[in-house]
Symmetry: C2
Subunit: 569 residues, 2 copies
Amino acid sequence: MNIVPGWIRSYQKPWLSGDAIAGVIVTVMLIPQSLAYALLAGLPPQVGLYASILPILAYALLGSSMTLAVGPVAVASLMTASALQPLAVAGSADYVALAMLLSLLSGGMLLLFGALRLGFMAHFLSHPVISGFISGSAILIAVGQVKHLLGVKAGGTNVLDTLIQLAQAVPHTHGVTLGIGAGSVLFLWLARKYLAPWLVRAGVSPKLADIASRLAPMLAVVVSTALVAALRWDQTAGVSIVGAVPQGLPTLALPKLSLPAIEQLWLPALLISLVGFVESVSVAQSLALQRQQRINPNRELLGLGAANVASALSGGFPVTGGFARSVVNFAAGANTPLAGVISAVLMGVVIASLTGLFHYLPQVVLAATIIVAVVSLIDIQTLREAWRYDKADAMSLLATAGGVIALGVEVGILMGVALSLGTLVWRSSHPHIAVVGRVPGTEHFRNVARHAVTTEPGLIAVRVDESLYFANSDALLDRVEQLVAAQPDTRHVLLVCSAINQIDTTALGVLTDLERSLAQRGTALLLAEVKGPVLDRLQGTALGQRLEGRIFLSTHAAFEHARQAASTV
Amino acid sequence: MNIVPGWIRSYQKPWLSGDAIAGVIVTVMLIPQSLAYALLAGLPPQVGLYASILPILAYALLGSSMTLAVGPVAVASLMTASALQPLAVAGSADYVALAMLLSLLSGGMLLLFGALRLGFMAHFLSHPVISGFISGSAILIAVGQVKHLLGVKAGGTNVLDTLIQLAQAVPHTHGVTLGIGAGSVLFLWLARKYLAPWLVRAGVSPKLADIASRLAPMLAVVVSTALVAALRWDQTAGVSIVGAVPQGLPTLALPKLSLPAIEQLWLPALLISLVGFVESVSVAQSLALQRQQRINPNRELLGLGAANVASALSGGFPVTGGFARSVVNFAAGANTPLAGVISAVLMGVVIASLTGLFHYLPQVVLAATIIVAVVSLIDIQTLREAWRYDKADAMSLLATAGGVIALGVEVGILMGVALSLGTLVWRSSHPHIAVVGRVPGTEHFRNVARHAVTTEPGLIAVRVDESLYFANSDALLDRVEQLVAAQPDTRHVLLVCSAINQIDTTALGVLTDLERSLAQRGTALLLAEVKGPVLDRLQGTALGQRLEGRIFLSTHAAFEHARQAASTV
């Protein structure tokens, strides 16, 4: 593998303008988001900025998507807060050190999975489960931000508890804070809903209008900061502000490694890795599809792993590919990860020299940004479609969302994984098995339930339409036992293996048992249309030896054998 | 469902003698085993006896196997010890109460799974993983018993630690204890290996010889107890004996329910349930197969669940279907669960009046029984076969066994589940997809890679040989994108749906994306041979509407459509 990424080697000049414009726009979007998601994760604001420089560069070197925008995102920030809050005081130096460690573990796991080529892990979760997980997390996040909107203190270990505490705290609402917050939410919501259509009607291109509407949070930040700074509301009205954000690029350092901390963080790190990876791949893939590009899940593991290790080394916290930011990056015309590189450089300039600008930024505006951003993640559309199309999928979605809301983000995602894999095992344990017969006058054999075919007396021919392995081989055994029990005069059971690409050790054992059990009753097992590689492997086994002379090239030949055997009785 | 089990309603008199003989033989085998497995689980000996009465009756009422012998088994006893040792002192009243609670939780879960009809859970583990798990557990158990053989104290949190402590304790070896122990091990091993062949040569039937050899542990118990009682080795030589075993039937009582205890025990209970269920089903199924009977995994869940609840209510600990005991029960001629009922009644008689007989039983003989029993569970045969047949399966087996030995029984089984499900997801994410063409002069369409077929210019026809769902739909998308990228003049992509029995919500989304992405390039997606139920569901969806007029009954019709479209350009 060449160390210089393909997109650099084949870079073409005309791509530059799109990359530059997208880089600038994403930066303007990223600044308030990175501050807000640091707040959501319980971290000082500069940690959000740190997580928006080196991780982007690392992903640009190793990732496979041309347009995925990596950085702090809402769900990973929530999961970070959920993992760290039992272990340290939010915002403390210990808490920051644990966040870096979490990011290092998560990145290390992703790199390991990438090296082991475990990109197929993207299929551990079904789409309804991902949708339910994100919707549930969004509700959890939004409810958690309401206290900032009211300017009150409220904790709560679960949603219900938080709501009760919020209700009790309502009398202590801080008027000015609520005013700024409610104003910001209203403005951001109106901008998101009406700005783009309005601009389009005013003659702006739809793409440009959409991008402009995405910059509303930056406008809210600028206006509210100016207002607070001018009127000194932090002193005169007691509005919480971000305050002094340390200026200067992050220093590189390895997070403190401690075995007890690793023992407590490995599972959250694994869950953050899995969720971040699955979500990134699905965003990257849907964008790539629109430009007939392709992404490589194994390279995504490496890119996201490197991004998280880079985040850990530069004082950041877990990052992944963000949905909204990637869509804007794509729409703004990004052609290659150079857009991300430009955005990282701009973020570096901001941190090195402009953090003073955030001093008077009211925290409630960040909360408003988070609320409006996550409410748009609540995905009713998928629920509605799944409900109409497949109730079982809709129930998985609801169960995952409910699990996140009632039991927390970690239990929720574990439930989601269990539901997805449970469905997979259930489906696998019900393979399609057909009894086949001869299409009269031909050498074609079809399902007796769907075609007018003739069968041979004393012969049951069964075709299983899948490879045989541990999850489905018992179903074949059961079906054959059922068929033979219903026709006790069966002398031959023929297994048509045309769709069997592989037989695993468990299935080999089941077939061996089946052959013996049939033999005890004087019924012979025959095989037909066994594929070359399957046959090669069978030949070294006890079953292969017992079946000698009973493996036929074609179903036709096996039928002829059974017919002759019957006529010689 | 009739409340009286089928085997009672249809009981036939000729079955009685077989059931009675098997019941007696299993009881003789069960007495030393139930004492030994209580010892292994860290429980007083009577707990093992309690777990051998009501559980058997409960299983007889609800289970579906005619010959499965339920009761204390080695692996579940090891898992019980592993779950309880961090929580209470082995043998204490608290420890016994926790064991009952563990059994209640495990039984409750199994009943719940049975009510939800989750019998397909038997397919969560592949055979090599089960084999590796049992072999690893057997090694763990055998090493743990060596201290009893030497008559020394040795703890150790893992195998290596235990071995080091044992080495250090060797100088303190208790000579008489080692003598009885080594003698018992030698006798039991010789009996297991040579008694049956010797009896056969002496003219005994092989079945009877095998059963006789299974009764050697009882003989060891009788002889060693008599020896110790006669010579008072407990006093003169300091040999540890079982001592006073409380006489009388167990009293029925609900285990103490405490939320903190439940929080600590739910995961071990779940793992014990899963392992016990998977193992029971595989034993029950292999026995049923030999008599052309069938077992029902959902009823097995109910039977085992009821057995564990019954064990919890009568002072016992987790039970499941035992391999060796079921095989003896089967070989001794058991026809129905009446054999188990008889055995339970006999165990009741033993507990009610004969526990005084165990007073002088040396503990080391129980340890010898355990060692010889579990060493026979170490399954080199499956490893050897898997190694020859499928290296990946062999590696799963070794990794699971290694995990159990190095990291303990709980981490080991979780690794096994992860390996099994990982394999399943990996396999599912590589479905068989074939590009098909027309067999010249016919309306048959076959894989272009395997048959001489003709294709239509501008048309790519793809057949996927599986239902489409979340784990494999991306593979289809990737393959089609690849094919279209290689033939940019493609005007039609035909998906032959003959093997697709279901399309889940995730796959529907992927197909919708694929159709849009193709349409952007002026390529139309066509479907053919869509099955009725799949078509019905598609019609309500956005994809169904977009595909109107492009869904064809046969591949032939779709090819004709593509040909005409090409000729009208």
